[in-house]
Symmetry: C2
């Protein structure tokens, strides 16, 4: 049996239409264009490419992305000052500071300088704390409004749109980064899954993965998860983006996994397009919260 | 084989002596007495008892606990105003707001009003976020200093003092509260354990527990975890405090579990005394951070 695709590209397209309508309505009502400021220091090629992609994505949704580029020699004080200026700018609703930041800059301090209300990337400690403390979905959250990093939020939304059941399911998350693994684990726990978080020190990963009804992988190692690590019928969400011999492959050995899984994301075309739409949604939501 | 006790009472005594020396040194150097303000609205018997216990505990360590009691009819605004006053009071280094708060009060909003620097109870979203985002132990945390709720911090410290190995071990946490389960899971993950978080919706708890090298239980159900849920030789940390026929029992069926586990906390005398010393340590640490 071959798995059904978790077709992020198709779902993203559907969501783009939803966002287009919501943005149009927002602009009609307020006269304001939801705007993200992307901050970068230096010319890291990946960051340059991503900033351009955000600009295009936002424009296609009727929103705006400003690019604020500092020289590679920018100090922490300069970055924090720029962030403070953007925090105070009412025409900017969301702010993303790209990494890597220059050598010697305390990235945590720059993120902490963001206004949590404009932290559409979900990297501020207040947003991380609210996600960590939020009550299970369906109950009053017990915390203020917050932003979730776009990548795990997109993975969850993709599963939701395919009707994946979370309640009481065993979910395994490989990877414990602050932008994918940890928030993904917290999101799945909020959906009442039983969540296991694995990482580089975990033992016997194949056996742990084989217990997963839902397997989310964000380790940055090409095709590490093999077909025989997957429980037949499981949901497999691959956040990996690895370049191998000029080709983009995920953290899951797709050709093997697709024969075992019930639902699986392709790479590319799975979680990637979802990240883009979730970032758009976060920017729109930030604008909604700020413009009343 | 009978398990070795994780003797919280004995370890707490050792730590009390350490804290006594540290407090004496701090007072000698600064002339200042580390002070916690305990805020309560109303006369919930458990809260009244706990506030009294904190006062005694702190006094025994050469520190001070102020009690600030509002009437049961106190509004959210009154609680927040009191917290704001204590935030601004340089003679107060730590603040704890007891629960339950009066009906109609948004507890999350009151906690968010605390200064994170004085949140010795670890309930502020900034402290939760920093714990969630902190890098694994041994690496630079990548976040500012933070406070961890005393109960899970005490559980971890108790295991540490008995030389429990965390690295690569399978840890299972039963319960996902913001003051025990979730921070316990994040602490164990920081120590490089592979962590599974279970809760009321989890299926087949006994099987999941039997996979645990380290089992931490905070569910508030008397003796729910049976002896045959425990892997022979496992470390069992019981945070449960249940009154059954006038007797205090944990969430683990102790008489059964002690025959299977390798290390186990008694109830009482396990995690309870550790909570007290960790709170003392947090207050001392808060004073250290604030008095320079």
């Amino acid at each position: 049996m071959t798995a059904t695709l978790l077709d992020g590209k198709a779902i993203a397209k559907t969501m783009q239409a939803e966002i287009d309508a919501a943005v149009a309505e927002f602009k009609e009502k307020t006269g304001i264009t939801p705007t993200i400021a992307v901050v970068r220091a230096g010319e890291d090629p990946g960051s340059v490419w991503y900033a351009g992609a955000i600009k295009k994505t936002m424009a296609a949704r009727g929103m705006e992305a400003q690019l604020h580029v500092l020289p590679e020699t920018a100090s922490q004080e300069e970055l924090v000052a720029l962030v403070a200026r953007l925090n105070a700018d009412p025409t900017v609703h969301g702010i993303m500071v790209q990494e890597p930041m220059p050598k010697g800059v305390d990235e945590g301090a720059v993120k902490a300088a963001l206004s949590p209300d404009k932290d559409v990337d979900g990297v501020h400690e207040v947003n991380a704390g609210r996600l960590a403390m939020a009550a299970p979905a369906g109950r009053p959250a017990g915390v203020g409004p917050f932003f979730v990093p776009a990548t795990p939020a997109g993975g969850l939304e993709l599963m939701r749109r395919y009707g994946v059941e979370f309640n009481g399911q065993n979910a395994v998350v490989l990877g414990r980064s602050n932008i994918v693994g940890k928030p993904m684990a917290l999101l799945l726990m909020r959906e009442n899954a039983t969540v296991t978080i694995c990482h580089s020190r975990s033992k016997d990963l194949p056996a742990i993965c084989r217990g997963a009804d839902i397997l989310c992988v964000a380790v940055g190692r090409a095709e590490m998860v093999r077909g025989d690590w997957i429980k037949p019928g499981a949901v497999v969400v691959d956040f990996g983006v690895n370049e191998v011999e000029g080709k983009m492959v995920g953290d899951v050995a797709y050709a093997e996994a697709v024969e075992v899984a019930g639902l699986i994301t392709p790479v590319p075309g799975g979680t990637g397009p979802m990240t883009n739409v979730m970032l758009c949604l976060n920017v729109l939501e930030a604008a909604r919260r700020q413009v009343r």
